[in-house]
């Protein structure tokens, strides 16, 4: 997997004052692959995301995208290197229309307004927001805002898309629709996706590979089936290893 990997995270660590938020975490995302980063609250998922997307520089370790070392780049530089991300708490450009929001992302690839507009319209259609193009972003519903986040990120034509809890707060029907959207995007565009998620229904349906974090360390990884049977994972989620005959 390492030879074909698009994104390689090698032993990254980050300490905040007394807290070792991320501790020597390594994993890889292959081209076109969908990898989920899961773990209980405070496991270090969002910090890991922020280390990859350039919000913080890791204390140790490195991040390699498509063969290029992107460790410690600023967020805008990481984006230009090919990493796009959404935010756990959505951050729409509230006063701009949906179309303008997505055009801001599309301007990464082109200075031309018409080209940016065409890219944006195409992506809005893919995410089912075409009829909202002229709506001001602050008047969108939460599911629409989540889709807008993803659309804006996709408009930068990334090599990999980082989705930070994009299902949180959605109803089951909306979650299923989102899962379909991202599965289609990944398959049709060959897009690699790294996601953090609490909604297991989405994680199991979407990801090819799962990395489990606990107290900042990687405690397990593998296919959804392997991870869901790993005693270490059950232990951290349920508090204690199930007794031999239990559950």
């Amino acid at each position: 997997m390492s030879a074909a990997a698009l994104l390689e995270v090698r032993g990254i660590s980050k300490r905040f004052r007394g807290l070792q938020a991320v501790d020597g975490v390594s994993f890889a995302v292959p081209r076109g692959g969908i990898v989920a980063l899961i773990g209980p609250n405070g496991a270090g998922k969002t910090t890991t995301f922020n280390l990859i997307a350039g919000v913080f520089a890791p204390d140790r370790g490195s991040v390699v995208l498509d063969g290029a070392d992107i460790t410690g780049l600023r967020p805008d530089q990481a984006c230009r290197a090919g990493i796009a991300r959404t935010f756990q708490v959505v951050k729409p450009f509230g006063g701009l229309t949906v179309l303008e929001n997505v055009m801001v992302g599309a301007f990464k690839a082109s200075h031309d307004r018409i080209a940016a507009r065409d890219t944006a319209l195409e992506i809005l259609a893919r995410l089912g927001l075409a009829d909202k193009a002229e709506t001001v972003a602050k008047s969108l519903t939460l599911p629409e805002r989540k889709r807008l986040e993803a659309a804006r990120a996709l408009a930068t034509r990334p090599k990999i898309l980082l989705l930070d809890e994009v299902m949180a707060g959605l109803r089951p029907v909306e979650i299923d629709a989102m899962v379909r959207t991202f599965a289609d995007l990944s398959r049709e565009m060959g897009l690699a996706i790294l996601l953090t998620e609490h909604v297991m229904r989405a994680v199991m349906a979407l990801s090819h590979h799962i990395v489990v974090l606990h107290h900042g360390q990687k405690i397990s990884e593998g296919t959804p089936e392997q991870v869901s049977r790993d005693p270490a994972v059950l232990d951290c989620y349920l508090g204690a290893a199930p007794a031999a005959g239990g559950a």
Binding site: A53, R74, K91, E100, H111, R113, R152
Partner: protein
């Protein structure tokens, strides 16, 4: 008619009205219109950095002063025509704006702290100029008084109506430039930064660079207005040119008219000057000190309370131009 056409017709009517207006009014009204156009132009320049890019500057008197003093000093010391002095003023003001912005944003000074810093730089420069003998220090810098009949465009010596047309051209130029910038990538990036800096950065925008560019351009535009102000008023004192009151005046018209809109600063300038005049004539019948200021303040409060987004977004809807977002 399609909406952009309606907007074009409305703009053409406005320009035509402004072009013929001086033919029908007396010299006092012309001088009032010059005040309107100064306010409109300074408001447009400030609107770039605060309305478009979302960085609150409360010290724009600094760039008015740098533009005014640079062109006036080069004229009175070396006889250099103001048009050249204006170019020098642009360079000085853009550099000052870029340095102030770079210092602030490099150290992540934002929001109200950035606003305080802009006030500090303007005040600090005012005090500096109070002791700057080359430009007359606190006793002022004077230009030979303008001829009321002759017309010397090269040296900007002429009657108020000459300044009226020059400032009208300047204001329409600023309107065209603002319109152009909002349709370019830089305009989209500025607005993205204004709405959410973190999200903007995650989309590949070098936030620092675009904020510094907004400040430098806004400062440069402001300094051009400053040069015209120097040659219109003919006397410059640091305490009035760099006054914090001027910085506040500059931001009032675009806020009343509609922050971040294209036509807001122009509309705001008209409304404020008219309001000021109306209050003066209304309150002149009463022997009450401060009545005018009180009414003026109350009227401003009323406008801000009823139309917090400014008068232009409201009027635009009334005129059927609402769908024209830029």
């Amino acid at each position: 008619m399609r909406l952009p056409q309606r907007a074009a017709v409305a703009l053409a009517l406005f320009v035509a009205a402004m072009l013929v207006l001086p033919l029908f009014v007396d010299s006092y009204i012309v001088s009032l219109l010059v005040v309107v156009l100064f306010a409109a132009y300074f408001g447009q320049a400030w609107n770039i950095v605060t309305g478009f890019a979302g960085q609150l500057s409360l010290g724009h008197a600094l760039y008015v002063g740098l533009g005014a003093y640079t062109s006036a000093a080069l004229f009175s010391h070396y006889g250099l025509p103001p048009w050249f002095g204006m170019l020098a003023g642009i360079a000085v003001a853009a550099t000052a704006g870029a340095i102030i912005a770079a210092l602030s944003f490099r150290f992540r000074v934002g929001g109200v702290y950035f606003a305080l810093l802009t006030i500090a730089f303007a005040e600090f420069t005012r005090i500096l100029f109070d002791h700057f003998d080359w430009v007359g220090a606190s006793s002022g810098l004077f230009l030979p008084v303008s001829s009321r009949v002759g017309l010397d465009l090269l040296r900007l010596r002429g009657p108020p109506v000459m300044f009226y047309y020059l400032l009208l051209a300047l204001t329409l130029g600023a309107l065209a430039l603002s319109h152009h910038l909002l349709r370019r990538r830089i305009g989209y990036y500025w607005q993205a930064i204004r709405e959410d800096e973190e999200a903007a950065q995650a989309l590949g925008i070098d936030v620092f660079r675009y904020k510094v560019a907004a400040m430098a351009l806004s400062a440069a535009m402001t300094s051009v207005g400053g040069a015209f102000l120097a040659f219109y008023e003919n006397n410059l004192y640091p305490d009035t040119v760099f006054a914090i009151g001027r910085s506040i005046e500059i931001i009032t018209a675009p806020i009343i008219g509609g922050l971040g809109t294209l036509f807001g600063p122009i509309l705001g300038a008209f409304v404020l000057t008219t309001l000021g005049e109306a209050m003066t004539s209304l309150s002149s019948g009463f022997a009450l000190n401060g009545l005018k200021q009180w009414c003026y303040g109350a009227a401003l409060l009323l406008i801000v309370a009823l139309q917090p987004a400014g008068l232009w977004p409201w009027l635009r809807t009334r005129l059927g131009l609402a769908e024209v977002r830029r």
